[in-house]
Amino acid sequence: MSTGHLLVVGAGQAGVQLAGSARELGWIGPITLIGQEPHPPYARPPLSKTYLRGETDLSALALRSEDFFREQEIELVAGERIDQLSLTATGGTAQATSGRHWSFDRLALATGAEPRRLPIAGSDLDGVLVLRDVGDADALGHHMRSVTNLVVIGGGFIGLEVAATAAATGVTVAVVEAAPALLTRVVSGHTAAAVQAAHDAAGIRFHTGVRPVRLHGHAGAVTAVELADGTMLPAGLVLVGIGARPRDDLARAAGLLCDGGVVVDAYSLASDGRTVAIGDCANLPDPTSDPPVTRLRLESVDNAVEQARAAATTLVGDQRRYRGVPWFWSHQGDLKLQIAGLAKPEDEAVVRLGKKAGQQTVLRYRGNRLVAAECINAPGDFVAVRKALAWGRTTAQANARDGALPLKALLLGN
């Protein structure tokens, strides 16, 4: 089977990894990797940080070298957007908007996610931007250099990363978050409060628990954001960072089961039992529990890479379940937030303050079992917990509350 043509739709972190891993594991047939952007595959995380600051150029973000694709005989097709799929019992055909088409024996969907748009009046004004790809980052950087006021709508990772980057360049920044606190879906209140305090100290102003209701403009360009409580925030530039929607339209139109993402099993197989779907576009069983009890989407580099590696085993006929400890990072100015594991809002929190100012680790417990850690400027704690979770180690909450005992000894000692 691995002599057929493998078509990978989507050339982001997941698609690139899958193509490379399939080849490494013994896929000997042709592999074609199709991306809709005109650039060779690149890393997205720096777009809100070093790239936005103009410290790196696009070539420095390349995920793989030209030599790699040539040596691995992976044909990279850039700038083609697949908009039609037809699936059969033994393969299928994909067609691009340009009319070009490819037949395949096996298909992998790594189509990613796209930013949600703000459903309020004025969202189509100039200067109202999102951040997903390098084109978005170029537009954002261009505007940032000429405005004095940025309003970020959405207090999530991307919003806060851009807020910190902009504030450091002297732009006046306000962040609007409809929920009562920042990062509510991803971290405990203790971590969210520490993150907000760090940004406060950098001069960023927060408006939480209030929705934007209208964007005002002049001559077609945004000038202000009006909030539900009547506040008017001056805005020469607005960044909307309110989450992303999985790009599953192609899969749905081809008859694959989708439910907020392409529904896949632990082997990354979609409902036809043949197509694999990976990364941000996939709705997958929780990789931390066996048997998996919940389904989720994971938008992270870690998931893109690790699910792709697991999916490659499916394609070459030596299938392994996708298991792992998901982890996430977000650099927001001088603040380094790292999260290992998946916590639920109701999981308990044990706060450990570090030796240095601004250093904090929050351990999350489900009963007496450690399930996650949220680390601020504490990379050693983060690595220790990620390793402990992978090894199935835990420590009693009572021990963890003693900040004098290092996590390494508590979790990884013999």
Binding site: R64, V305, Q338, K387, K408
Partner: protein, 104 residues
């Protein structure tokens, strides 16, 4: 003039890559598909998945964050352990690194 990096796998196989000055030992490995160097965070000192044993080559000393992360690396730390994202190559530099058995 390009730098040159020699990567040795745990089974003894060696791969030699040319690298542009300014790139790191991690970037050069990942872009060219060297097994065993993962580098998920892209070099932002966040993931500790690019651990190597530095056999020859001079670099800036280990920072506090790097030190903290190496202390709990998946493969036990040695005196010459480094995170290869921190090994930024100079023009014409020749470097030898050995790749540990596990990164995660």
């Amino acid at each position: 003039m390009n730098a040159k990096v020699f990567y040795t796998q745990p089974d003894g196989t060696e791969r030699v890559l040319e690298a542009s000055p300014g790139d790191s030992v991690m970037q050069t490995a990942v872009r060219n598909g060297v097994a065993g160097i993962v580098g998920q965070c892209g070099g932002s000192l966040s993931c500790a998945t690019c651990h190597v044993f530095l056999e020859s080559g001079e670099f800036a000393p280990v920072s506090e964050d790097e030190d903290d992360m190496l202390e709990v690396a998946a493969t036990d730390r040695e005196d010459n352990s480094r995170l290869s994202c921190q090994l930024v190559l100079a023009e014409g530099q020749e470097v030898r690194v050995a790749i540990p058995a596990a990164q995660l």
